[in-house]
């Protein structure tokens, strides 16, 4: 019987069995940001411990960074205190830090891959649930709490239980205008926001074989929104080509050896999975959320649910979502008025996202009354966009072109919804209050759908707005 990548990586990293039956798992790469780490460094100091392997931890600042100006001190004194604490901690403990002045700062899940810090077969952890992003490289990557950040700093290990593995095959061809974001929103809608509890998701099939690394990252990123703590794609030629020559990747003979090792880690053809799910690519439409969790989604051509048509037990939850979103039961989702368009985040803040959005946005204008912001995932992405002139496309259309950070995905910096504004967002969570206002509303969608919403001022079908499909092969 063959083994999955998950099992192979797990076995290679098991240090020992702990007294409570869990495994002590070695974590190759630890990523740190300013929000979930200060208490961990505090606990470490209280215990009189050092960072055991400082060369295995990499830090950056992303959540609280203003995207309009990096002038210090930051206008928000709490944010300023957090960046100063992180600087002190990385200095005290000898940790590599991608500061705002480095030219390499950005969202932790964007800069890990772009620097080649994320590599196949690694275990990767970060005090951030979207660490699942790094699974796109065939790493086992997952979010952890702050006490666990301390555990890694002190020992480079975690006390973990093994997950089951659910293989999700997406076979066929995605229709024009359907993107990786739609694939993962469709998967979560199908399997539920808690369907992945206890599982790692292994994504595969011809759609994933053809996907670029950035598309794979978009899908793996949102595994946690389906309840799966980790999600991954087996490493292949696409993975190796993306990584070759990146600053933290091996070179020369060491590179060749690494590629051979990485190939051997991919799931064996005769792997027995705990569960297999098959999805037809042709059945996936441009997908948007209508509710208050990422599983409450529908095709752009659909209507939002009418609770009266659902079983009694589900009605209260559906009605709560509709009430928060200020939607009528059974109304079409297309046409709902949009106040804000947000393009960015660890889900869709990479160069390919901006290129694809700019390709269609060019020549259009943001609708009057819509506040549209484009936030690159990292300083490297921002620079690349600017070199390609993409920033001008966004600016000329009426978008604000910003600096790198998490921004309005979770609104820990000044980028926030006001009152009950509705945001068309390329981010990952539509929870109540997520984008900075308790009554704010979020509709999740692909980057192209965000720019379609920006130019029409409504939740729109990008295929109609931009004639997507007609451009294929053009």
């Amino acid at each position: 019987m063959g083994k999955s990548l998950y099992e192979k990586v797990w076995e290679a990293h098991a240090v020992r069995t702990l007294p409570n039956g869990q495994t002590q798992l070695f974590i190759d790469t630890h990523l740190v940001h300013e929000v979930t780490s200060p208490q961990a460094f505090g606990m470490l100091r209280d215990l009189g411990l050092k960072v055991r392997f400082p060369e295995r931890t990499f830090a950056t600042v992303d959540h609280i960074v203003p995207t309009d100006s990096l002038r210090e001190p930051f206008a928000d004194p709490q944010a300023d205190e957090m960046i100063r604490q992180l600087r002190q901690n990385v200095k005290d403990f000898g940790i590599t830090f991608f500061d705002v002045t480095s030219g390499l700062q950005g969202i932790v899940h964007v800069i890990g891959p772009e620097n080649g810090i994320t590599q196949p077969g690694m275990t990767i952890a970060c005090g951030d649930s979207h660490t699942s992003t790094h699974g796109a490289f065939g790493a086992i990557a997952f979010g952890i709490g702050t006490t666990q950040v301390r555990d890694i700093l002190a020992t480079q290990t975690l006390a973990m239980g093994k997950l089951k593995v659910r293989r999700i095959n997406v076979e066929g061809s995605l229709p024009p205008g359907v993107y990786a974001k739609d694939v993962i929103l469709h998967i979560i809608k199908t399997l539920g926001v808690n369907g992945g509890i206890g599982y790692a998701y292994e994504y595969g099939g011809s759609v994933f074989d053809r996907f670029s690394m950035e598309e794979r990252m978009t899908v793996c990123n949102m595994s946690i929104e389906g309840g799966a703590r980790a999600g991954y794609v087996n490493p292949d030629q696409t993975t190796f080509e993306y990584l070759k020559g990146r600053p933290y990747c091996p070179q020369g003979a060491a590179w060749d050896a690494a590629v051979e090792r990485w190939k051997s880690l991919a799931s064996d053809p005769d792997t027995h999975y705990d569960e297999v799910v098959n999805i037809k690519a042709e059945n996936i439409a441009p997908t948007v959320t209508w509710g208050i969790n990422p599983g409450q989604g529908c095709a752009i051509t659909d209507r939002v649910p009418n609770p009266a048509q659902y079983p009694e037990a589900e009605r209260a939850g559906l009605q709560e979502a509709l009430t928060h979103m200020k939607l009528e039961p059974g109304q079409p989702i297309k046409g709902v008025k949009v106040n804000v368009a947000f393009l960015g985040s660890c889900t869709n803040g990479r160069i390919s996202d901006f290129r694809e959005a700019a390709k269609y946005l060019k020549g259009h204008k943001v609708a009057p009354g819509v506040r549209a912001i484009a936030v690159p995932g990292s300083q490297v992405v921002a620079k690349q966009c600017e070199e390609e002139g993409l920033d001008l496309v966004f600016r000329e259309a009426g978008f604000e072109w910003r600096g790198a950070g998490c921004s309005m995905c979770l609104a820990m910096n000044p980028d926030k919804l006001i009152g009950d504004e509705l945001s068309a967002s390329s981010s990952n969570r539509n929870f109540k209050g997520r984008q900075g206002s308790a009554t704010g509303r979020t509709v999740l969608m692909s980057p192209l759908m965000v720019v379609a919403a920006a130019v029409t001022g409504k939740v729109s079908d990008a295929r109609e707005v931009f004639g997507v499909g007609e451009l294929v092969g053009a």
Binding site: R16, T36, Q156, N194, G227, A438
Partner: protein
């Protein structure tokens, strides 16, 4: 390190109904701009409990009948979303010592266990019956017995579920794993020596 053995939690209970209650609702992100966990109890369910003008909204945690409760009753997939430990920290610091739910998001569950706060899983019908009993008599004591994996109240009881590793960690006072992890000693250096590491290559800036 001698830690408290969590064998039983007894106290009054409060029911916070609803499924998929995410960590943004438990602790809105603006309360994460802190460098310690002190005072987070105040942030608990803030936007669910208070309107923008600071006035109270109807919420079980605002109901004086349930003040001082130490056991929280919740629905399915409680604690989904972000990995922020601030959420279980806020619940713990607001005085709660155990949660009974239909299911828990994994990261939340692990964070809670490491704080010595058991999150036990029960059937929906059992939780609803208990919630009705609490509503009828908010003074009623509820016991979560971590050893026998049972919940007792009034003259009733029902079975709950908890992964063996978490039960073991709680009842044996090993819920904070740091001492066990440190015990690996030089096995950590051996593991680091054989496992891959991302290192900046020479010739790269």
């Amino acid at each position: 390190m001698a830690l408290e053995q969590i064998t039983q939690v007894t106290g009054r209970a409060v029911h916070v109904p609803g499924n998929d209650i995410d960590t943004d609702r438990i602790t809105p992100a603006r309360y994460l701009k802190v460098v310690t966990f002190d005072g987070l109890g105040e942030a608990l369910f803030y936007d669910e409990r208070f309107a923008a003008d600071g006035s109270q909204k109807p919420h079980p945690l605002n109901d004086p009948r349930f003040k001082g409760a130490t056991v929280m009753l919740v629905g399915a997939n409680f604690g989904c979303g972000s990995s922020r430990e601030h959420s279980p920290q806020a619940i713990y610091r607001a005085g709660f010592r155990a949660i009974i739910g239909e299911s828990f998001a994994e990261i939340f569950f692990g964070n809670s266990t490491a704080l010595s706060m058991p999150c036990v899983v029960a059937d929906k019908a059992e939780i609803e019956a208990l919630a009705a009993a609490v509503e009828a008599d908010p003074e009623m004591l509820v016991t979560v017995d971590v050893g026998s994996l049972e919940v007792w109240y009034s003259d009733q009881s029902f079975k709950v579920r908890l992964p063996e590793s978490a039960q073991n960690a709680l009842v044996n006072g090993r819920w904070d794993p740091i001492a066990d992890l440190l015990e690996a000693g030089e096995a950590l250096e051996a593991a680091s020596a054989r496992l891959p590491k991302a290192a900046r290559q020479k010739g790269e800036k």
